[in-house]
Symmetry: C2
Subunit: 256 residues, 2 copies
DNA sequence: GATGTATGTATTGTGAACAAATATACGGCA
DNA sequence: TGCCGTATATTTGTTCACAATACATACATC
């Protein structure tokens, strides 16, 4: 606290010489069990958009403290996987119809580019990884809904990984999650997320280094997904109300 | 909250009927003055990669408490703008050379797509906005370094905005920030971030709806930026060290 | 009977103190 | 002088308790 008058006669560096960080294991919050738990619950559709994520309940469920939960929720909110409303809590994010369309549009852009890059730099290891995944997807139990959901998302992530660009890979992961939220929000009952037959075709085209064909197949595949969702009926009415309230809120905040 | 599992048999409405959130003003943390302050300080290069961001100092600087600072730092860490190391603190993120290249590659993909979409949906309002920005960039004081930096980044964000895809816009904003970190880390002394003459050309091509030309100009512009940075000499040696430390850390964590 | 108000309860947000870990400074020793 | 172990000091991480807010129920009034 109080500098005990230690007459530093040689104050060559009064500033503390904080070593700069050397990329030491940041132990990302991505590994956090709470984050992982919520994420998998969402991708497995066990948590629906709009569901309340109470801090106390989560703390009890995961056997940890509220602080830990708050950190995890804040992180998920920054990734737009949960929505935090002041003094009301955290909810599973529910994208708007426009946002859902934007997500698919972004995926068309990023994943076609990823396919192209993946073909360019495809090597032996990449071929093996791709084949291994296609095998798993071909022989997996189609009745195990949760496994199916995980596998189909993994295919798209794998393609991004093969593209060899970590930034693109992060973006793909994020878009994959947001896609599952978009689908969960606007899906028609009973339809699968992904047409399961498209992946082998795309994979084969990548292995054959047919760039134009693979890109076209990927774009078509994403468009097909997008066409499975429909705007919610009666959503307009809600939108109208919220538009009014938002306007009122904005005016109140402005001080009028 | 020990909540010792009290057998509640059937309280008619024990479950609170939490209204689902209806897109009420989430008041994003993006508006937080601490986040904004650090962000602008970084894009203006007043905070260099590797700089320590002490919690107490920031709290004093912003006149707030550590809690707010910690929230802001956690958010910035999730966006890879700061790097948090357990028990050591937060530092301005310093991308690796590979990550810097990946950032530019991602920008090539996303921004060329944005140019294309912007041309497709260019309307009167968009034209006006673009022209207004080009005017400001043309007549701004070139000696005001901080204003220059802000304006050049704004051009790229504006193009993404004109593309009309909010998800793409978020990604562009994020990439813009990470680009300035990449440049700050690997720049050659004395070079500007952006060749200032490229923007009017690209803008004119967009206004002329010359899609192929605008895409080519944008790609070229980004490649030019990328070629201004060089890997740091002696970086390999550091990488070697960190590899060692990471290995040791991993072993320690594994319990050996 | 419906609407508006008041009270009680549950949940989130915040502040301050405490504990742990790390970095720095000091002193001994070769 | 240079190196190393110990002690101090700073900084981060966590816990606890309390304050503020919003929600739900009950009540009063028209």
């Amino acid at each position: 606290m109080k500098r005990t008058r230690t007459l530093k006669r040689k104050p060559k560096r009064s500033e503390p010489k904080h070593r700069e960080p050397e990329a030491v294991d940041p132990r990302s919050i991505d590994d956090d069990p709470v984050v992982q738990g919520i994420l998998t619950a969402i991708s497995q559709k066990r948590l629906k958009p709009g569901a309340k994520l109470g801090e106390d309940k989560l703390a009890a469920a995961f056997g940890t403290t509220r602080i830990h939960i708050r950190q995890a929720l804040a992180y998920l909110a920054s990734r737009k996987v949960v929505m935090q409303i002041p003094n009301r809590g955290a909810f599973v994010y529910r994208p708007s119809w426009e946002e859902a369309q934007d997500i698919f549009a972004a995926r068309r852009i990023i994943e076609t580019a990823a396919v192209s890059a993946a073909i360019d730099r495809l090597d032996k290891a990449g071929r093996a990884e791709l084949k291994a995944h296609m095998d798993r997807e071909a022989r997996h139990d189609r009745n195990d809904r949760w496994a199916s959901l995980s596998l189909t998302a993994e295919f798209h992530v794998l393609v991004a990984k093969l593209a060899g660009n970590r930034v693109l890979l992060e973006m793909s992961r994020e878009l994959m999650l947001r896609t599952s939220l978009a689908i969960a929000t606007f899906e028609q009952p009973g339809e699968p997320d992904c047409s399961p037959d498209a992946h082998p075709d795309i994979g084969a085209l990548i292995l054959a280094r047919d760039k134009a064909g693979a890109i076209h197949a990927m774009r078509h595949h994403i468009e097909e997904m997008e066409q499975r969702i429909r705007p919610k009926e009666g959503e307009d009415e809600v939108d109208e109300l919220t538009a009014i309230f938002q306007e009122i809120g904005a005016r109140a905040r402005a001080g009028g």
